[in-house]
């Protein structure tokens, strides 16, 4: 337990460290048990009403209702805990029995070994131009779902902004002084690591269609790099690189590009028109149609979301 809490002296870890350093005073008598908070336990009517002086009828009625409510809550909470345990057990048993009846994992004749996965594996490279079949699946065959997923990230970030954003623009004086302590070890390590992490993230994003990885994983790596930088050097220096404006512009640009590019592709696909997007030679960096660009978009959105969550939870602003 950290020493930030008021009662840190009572905590087990503090007592242990006191014991190790020999500071511990051994009490003569065992510590008095904490008395249960009386307020929550009263269900006896006389005791309850004796706490109040009742002046009129309305007050009496309200008090009576409060008393009944408290009694109800006490009984109901007991019943609820028993019921929830029973229901939880029943659901566990039902689901376990169900699992026993499901197709065996990895069996060759399972229903999920069918034409769908067959075509992904056999024709995936030829039809999408992506060496990484997973990228081909999520960004070409099922690109609509992935657009939905990137919108989930976008909307989640908006939600956190709604919840945690401080409305005052002026940063509070010495906010960074409280939050941020310069740490020479972290700074040196970050100086060394952040460029490597960012470059690796960019590599994973750009090679999403050629090797394992892609927008989601690469974006997460880049986001981690940004978070490390912010932790090492503080938000003030981070803002020179990445402010709320940058965040808005990047998210807007990436999602808009994704939306428009994919709308074009959907529209031509559905109407059986010729699409001008070339597939390129599989294996080259500039290949596989839109997948590379969509990976970049997804990666940017993921990186911004990761860093945005961190900044919002840490200080209420991006």
């Amino acid at each position: 337990m950290s020493k930030l809490k008021e009662n840190y002296k009572d905590s087990a870890s503090q007592k242990f460290s006191d014991f190790m350093t020999g500071d511990l005073e051994i009490p003569d008598s065992p510590p008095a048990r904490k008395k249960p908070d009386k307020q929550d336990k009263i269900v006896d009517a006389d005791e309850f009403f004796s706490e109040f002086t009742i002046s009129d009828d309305i007050q009496r009625r309200e008090l009576y209702q409060a008393f009944r409510h408290r009694r109800f809550v006490k009984h109901a909470s007991k019943l609820y805990s028993i019921m929830s345990a029973v229901i939880g057990l029943i659901i566990i048993v039902i689901l376990l029995i169900t699992v026993a009846y499901l197709p065996k994992f990895g069996n060759k004749s399972n229903p999920d070994n069918n034409i769908v996965s067959q075509r992904y594996i056999e024709n995936g490279l030829e039809e999408t131009g992506a060496v990484n079949i997973v990228s081909g699946m999520i960004l070409d065959y099922r690109a609509f779902d992935t657009f939905g997923e990137s919108n989930v990230l976008f909307i989640a970030c908006c939600c956190v902004l709604i919840l945690l954003r401080n409305d005052d623009d002026e940063p509070k004086p010495d906010e960074d002084v409280i939050d941020f302590k310069r740490d020479i070890i972290l700074e040196k390590a970050a100086k060394f690591l952040v460029p490597v992490i960012l470059v690796f993230g960019i590599y994973v994003v750009l090679n999403g269609h050629l090797s394992p990885g892609g927008g989601f994983s690469g974006g997460a790596i880049m986001g981690a790099g940004l978070i490390l930088f912010a932790n090492a050097y503080g938000f003030e220096r981070m803002e020179r690189l990445f402010s709320y404006g940058t965040f808005k512009k990047i998210t807007f640009g990436a999602l808009l590009f994704y939306g428009l590019a994919k709308s074009y592709s959907f529209f031509t696909g559905a109407n059986h028109l010729h699409s001008i997007i070339p597939l390129g030679t599989p294996g080259a960096i500039l290949s596989s149609g839109l997948i590379l660009y969509l990976n970049i978009c997804v990666g940017l959105v993921v990186a911004c979301t990761m860093y945005g969550f961190f900044a919002l939870f840490k200080r209420g602003r991006i």
């Binding site: 029995i97 229903p111 999920d112 919108n151 989930v152 909307i155 959907f266 696909g269 559905a270």
Partner: protein, 497 residues
């Protein structure tokens, strides 16, 4: 004419891209822009409806270059197009009518986020209505859950945060169950496309394979969606979420979000599992029982409320019960009644939330019945709208709710005797209870005004009046012109199978 095929795709992409564009807009531009988008979606959906009716059959539409089991696909039929049209009209009027309240309730820097959420909600609704692929459905369930949560919590006070937390927990349990069901279904069939799953299930049925897991899957999916749409025992998140959030959010939550999930459930019943298997699992009887209990319990709780918004919220529990009861009858007429009630309820309930907000606007922002006395006289258009909505919910002829109740009774006559008796008794009792609490509400808002209040003049809000007129028109249209709509719904259900 052939070009109209593309309209559903344009609707979905337009609402998704517009949400992204709104993120860099000022709040005034965001308001106007999102209204334009919703209006455009409404127009395009009605064009789709005209097109589908004219070609007389449903069609599928590739989302990409690849045919169905490999790529994504949407499917357009009469029922889908109708639902999309009605939902966008209701959404347009709700956003328009509650715009001023959103302006008051939401902090200045968060206002354009509200419209991002509204647009993404519209996109999720449309995608869930049109999708032919279960996993696409799941992705958009997620978007819908998050945006609904944001719509509740964006009004920054304690009640809304607690309500949003409650909603989040319950809704995520629902999402988890749905995901569990989908993965089991994928394991059993090897497909995510609705029509392919149905084929595989029919094959499995014929060979007697995987009976038990399929039953559990159906159960898990149905419970998940029931939690998300607040069927009776899972309604604990509902009163707070509908009662405290800003008026537009309540209207959207009650009339669109829960209905979107129910629409997906109907689609799963018809197009994924198949009605034969559904009847074998007898899940319909479960829906029926909980629906009937919900009808009564929701109304009883509504009577006990002293807050107008909470009362409308509990009334929603009862109305959701009606819909599940219709689905539980297990006949095509029952489903017809349930779908018509989806339409009737979404047009009437959103109207009540918006007009109740108009009433509390002239009563110092109080929602208690004691303070609302005379508010309908101070704000006549809100009073009339509230009355029309309440009458529609009670089931006064010429309004949408009446047709829905007649349909339920009609469907019950064709079901088994025991269900007939239960439905008739429940309908009668529930209508009586509806009348009790709605009449009390109407009477209390039309109480004579106190003298010192008579001189106060409240500024007219033209947006609110337009929204009210749209709602009244929609309800009267559904109530007086029901036969062609019912025929179209029947035709749409035929296209599902």
């Amino acid at each position: 004419m052939e070009f109209l095929r593309n309209m559903p795709f344009f609707c979905i992409i337009l609402s998704m891209v517009s949400a992204v564009i709104i993120s860099i807009m000022s709040d005034k531009a965001a308001r106007v822009f999102s209204l334009i988008v919703i209006g455009a979606v409404g127009i395009m959906s009605s064009l789709t409806l005209i097109y589908v009716v004219s070609i007389g059959e449903s069609y599928t539409y590739y989302m990409g270059h690849f045919p169905a089991p490999w790529g994504n696909e949407i499917r357009v039929g009469i029922l889908e197009a109708m639902t999309a049209t009605l939902f966008s009209i209701v959404m347009f009027a709700s956003v328009l009518g509650g715009m001023k309240r959103v302006f008051i309730d939401v902090a200045p820097k968060k206002r354009n986020f509200y419209y991002i959420m509204v647009d993404l909600l519209l996109a999720a609704l449309l995608a869930m209505i049109y999708t032919n692929d279960l996993f696409t459905g799941y992705v958009f369930i997620e978007i819908m859950t998050i945006s609904a949560c944001a719509l509740i919590m964006i009004k920054d006070n304690g009640h809304c945060l607690v309500a949003a937390a409650k909603y989040m927990i319950m809704s995520l349990i629902g999402s988890g169950l749905i995901l569990l069901g989908l993965s089991m279904l994928y394991d059993l069939t090897g497909h995510l496309l609705m029509s392919n799953i149905k084929e595989a299930i029919e094959l499995n049925e014929a060979s007697g394979l995987y009976q038990l897991p399929l039953t559990v899957t159906v159960g898990v999916l149905c419970v998940g969606i029931a939690i998300k749409s607040a069927l009776f025992p899972f309604h604990s998140w509902l009163p707070d979420a509908y009662g405290y959030s800003t008026a537009t959010s309540s209207a959207l939550l009650s009339s669109l979000i829960s209905k979107g999930y129910i629409f997906l459930l109907i689609k799963i019943m018809y197009r994924v599992i198949g009605m034969d298997v559904i009847r074998e699992t007898r899940i319909g009887n479960v829906f029926f029982v909980f629906g009937v209990v919900g009808m009564i319990m929701g109304s009883v709780r509504a009577i006990a409320q002293t807050d107008v918004r909470q009362m409308i919220a509990y009334s929603s529990v009862a109305q959701i019960g009606y819909i599940y009861m219709g689905m539980g009858l297990g006949t095509e007429l029952g489903m017809l009644a349930a779908i018509f009630h989806i339409f009737a309820h979404s047009s009437a309930k959103s109207m009540m939330f918006i007009s109740a907000d108009g009433l509390s606007y002239v009563s110092d922002d109080s929602k208690e019945f004691d303070d609302l006395g005379g508010s309908a006289i101070k704000n006549p258009i809100a009073g009339i709208t509230f009355t029309v909505g309440a009458c529609s919910m009670i089931g006064i002829p010429m309004l949408a709710g009446f047709i829905a109740k007649v349909c339920f009774a009609d469907a019950a006559i064709n079901a088994s005797t025991i269900k007939l008796v239960i439905v008739m008794l429940a309908l009668a009792f529930s209508t009586l209870l509806n009348a009790v609490y709605f009449m009390r509400a109407i009477i209390s808002v039309y109480r004579p005004i106190k003298e010192e209040d008579q001189m106060k003049i409240y500024p007219r809000n033209p947006k609110f009046i337009v929204a009210c007129l749209i709602f009244i028109g929609l309800n009267i249209y559904l109530g007086t012109n029901a036969q062609p709509i019912l025929d179209l719904i029947l035709e749409g259900i035929g296209m599902f199978a």
